[in-house]
């Protein structure tokens, strides 16, 4: 009955080994199936993606493409200004979902090339632009820095109504000495 020190140690090592192997196995299995790759609309257009593979699609919500169905289904296009992908989503859009704003959607492409999203993310900060989207826009050479919005395609307001473009007096200098 009494175990030697050696068998005790072996038991301990055995248990540690089993648990670690189980953890590793789970991690590897989960990595193969549950991890979403980030792609831009251009990636999808050029290299394509297999229907059914989980993806994160990031870009800007293209102006004028948001359409709402009767049953809380929304369709819109995600663009990186070069290519665009049609997205459908059923559910509540996040607070900061707006046309022309950065967005990350997660889901998969269907056979028709429409992206069926189950998650739409637009973070809780008015200047937030998902990091992946910023990087990809920079890569496309269309990023304008500090939160500049996309050029508007709407009717331009007549000049006397346009908000003054520069409000320089607002930001006081920080003391640096």
């Amino acid at each position: 009955m009494a175990m030697t020190r050696k068998t005790r140690r072996l038991t301990l090592i055995g248990v540690v080994g089993v648990v670690l192997a189980a953890a590793m196995g789970l991690v590897l299995y989960a990595m193969s199936g549950q991890i979403a790759l980030f792609k831009t609309p251009t990636d999808v257009a050029t290299t394509g993606a297999e229907p059914g593979q989980r993806l994160r699609l990031g870009g800007l919500v293209k102006e004028g493409t948001v359409r709402r169905g009767d049953d809380a289904t929304v369709t819109f296009e995600v663009t990186d200004t070069v290519n665009a992908v049609q997205v459908t989503y059923s559910g509540l859009l996040p607070d900061l979902f707006r046309e022309g704003q950065g967005v990350v959607t997660e889901g998969m492409l269907d056979a028709a090339g429409v992206f069926r999203a189950d998650t739409v993310l637009a973070k809780h900060d008015e200047n937030y632009m998902p990091k992946e989207v910023v990087d990809s826009l920079k890569a496309q050479g269309v990023w304008e820095g500090d939160g500049a919005a996309m050029p508007s395609t709407r009717d331009p307001a007549p000049t006397d109504a346009a908000a003054p473009a520069a409000t320089p007096a607002a930001e006081p200098a920080r003391l640096t000495n």
Partner: protein
């Protein structure tokens, strides 16, 4: 001066916190093994309590007791701490007395602003106002309106300033407040509608359309209201009505009115939307103002007001830009300021000034590539090639 006295007292207190305990005469500390023994005795007592209550079996208790006893014995045998050598209390106290003030002043000298007094908002609002500081004036009026929200005059002061400083939503709120207090008038409805269109970045919302409708209905000569109304109708796909509204504007305008240019432009779009030729004849307008006194007084007033406000705004913006430039002259290490200045010059179509500003900014930040890149990006976005 007072602040330095307080700092000195604080420094003394900090130094004393180190020196006093060092100066106090100290017995040698109890050896660590004494503390260990206290713990093991306590464990034994605890074991005894558990045993008395029958929480553990007798054999188990005996084994545990033997184990703790062994630890106790070992702790008792442990070598007592070597008797201390000469204490370093005195040199340590002297070093601390030197180090604390030197360190504190050294760090504070590079980070602090000892001459800057506190500026609680309440106290600042009681001080005499500075008429040149727009931001301050806004804050004062806002503070006043918190207590007297029904003072229409206050809102009337704020609304145009908000509009000029780019706070269009606040401007719209201010117009709504005035309408709430004084009741609607064509002027107010027109201003509200215009503000809302600006807030919507050119999109005419339902609320804006309603305000514009009311303005035009009460005063058919509100050309500006008509202009935005037509725009809204066009956006809503009510092309026929939009075209009618544009025609109405032309009918009510002098032939040389400055706004006819964009009106004709938009009218063409309405025509295009209706599928009619762009050169569909327009109705006859009023005679040109310069041609005679027949021009409608309403239209002339509008023109005058528009010219005034345009000029005023240009002056206002120029003044603000100048102040920014002056400030950067004195305190150039302000990347955000430089980017604002370059953009402002770009918007005002003063490319030479913009290039000069860019050059100065590049000079200032030549040792900081990140900021440099940001500033150059800003310049690029304004069409300035570095």
């Amino acid at each position: 001066m007072l602040v330095w006295i307080v700092f000195a007292l604080m420094t003394v207190a900090a130094a004393l916190a180190v020196i006093v305990p060092l100066a106090r005469h100290r017995r040698a500390a109890l050896p660590a093994s004494a503390h260990d023994r206290a713990v093991y005795r306590d464990q034994l007592a605890e074991l005894e309590r558990d045993r008395e209550r029958g929480l553990i079996g007798a054999a188990e208790a005996e084994a545990a007791r033997a184990e703790i006893a062994r630890r106790l014995l070992k702790a008792s045998e442990a070598a007592e701490a070597a008797s201390p050598r000469r204490s370093w209390a005195k040199p340590a106290a002297m070093a601390a007395t030197m180090a604390i003030p030197l360190l504190a002043l050294g760090v504070y000298a590079s980070t602090g602003s000892p001459d800057l007094p506190d500026q609680p908002l309440a106290a600042r609002l009681q001080a005499p106002p500075d008429p040149n500081n727009v931001v301050e004036m806004i804050a004062r009026v806002e503070a006043h309106l918190v207590n007297q929200p029904n003072d229409a005059e206050g809102w009337k002061v704020l609304a145009p300033i908000y509009l000029r400083t780019g706070r269009v939503d606040d401007a719209a709120r201010a117009y709504r407040e005035i309408i709430r207090i004084e009741g609607p008038s064509p002027e107010l409805n027109e201003a509200l509608g215009e503000t809302l269109v600006a807030a919507g970045e050119g999109l005419v919302s339902e609320e804006a359309q309603a305000a514009l409708d009311a303005a035009v209905q009460a005063d058919p000569d509100r050309i500006k209201a008509r202009y935005y109304r037509a725009l809204g109708l066009l956006q809503a796909g009510r092309n026929e009505e939009s075209l009618a509204e544009y025609d109405e504007i032309i009918r009510r305008s002098a032939a040389d009115a400055p706004w006819l240019e964009p009106v004709r432009e938009n009218r063409k779009r309405a025509l295009a939307a209706l599928g009619r030729p762009a050169d569909t004849p327009e109705p006859a307008g009023l005679p040109a103002v310069s041609a005679g006194p027949a021009a409608g007084p309403g239209a002339a007033d509008v023109a005058a007001a528009e010219a005034m406000s345009d000029e005023e705004r240009a002056q206002m913006v120029a003044g603000m830009v100048q102040r920014l430039a002056d400030r950067l002259e004195q305190n150039p290490r302000d990347p955000v300021g430089w980017m604002q200045l370059i953009r402002a010059y770009g918007v005002m179509e003063r490319p030479e000034d913009a290039s000069a500003a860019l050059k100065k900014a590049e000079e200032t930040f030549k040792d900081d590539p990140t900021i440099l890149a940001q500033i150059q990006d800003a310049a690029k976005s304004m069409g300035l090639v570095p």
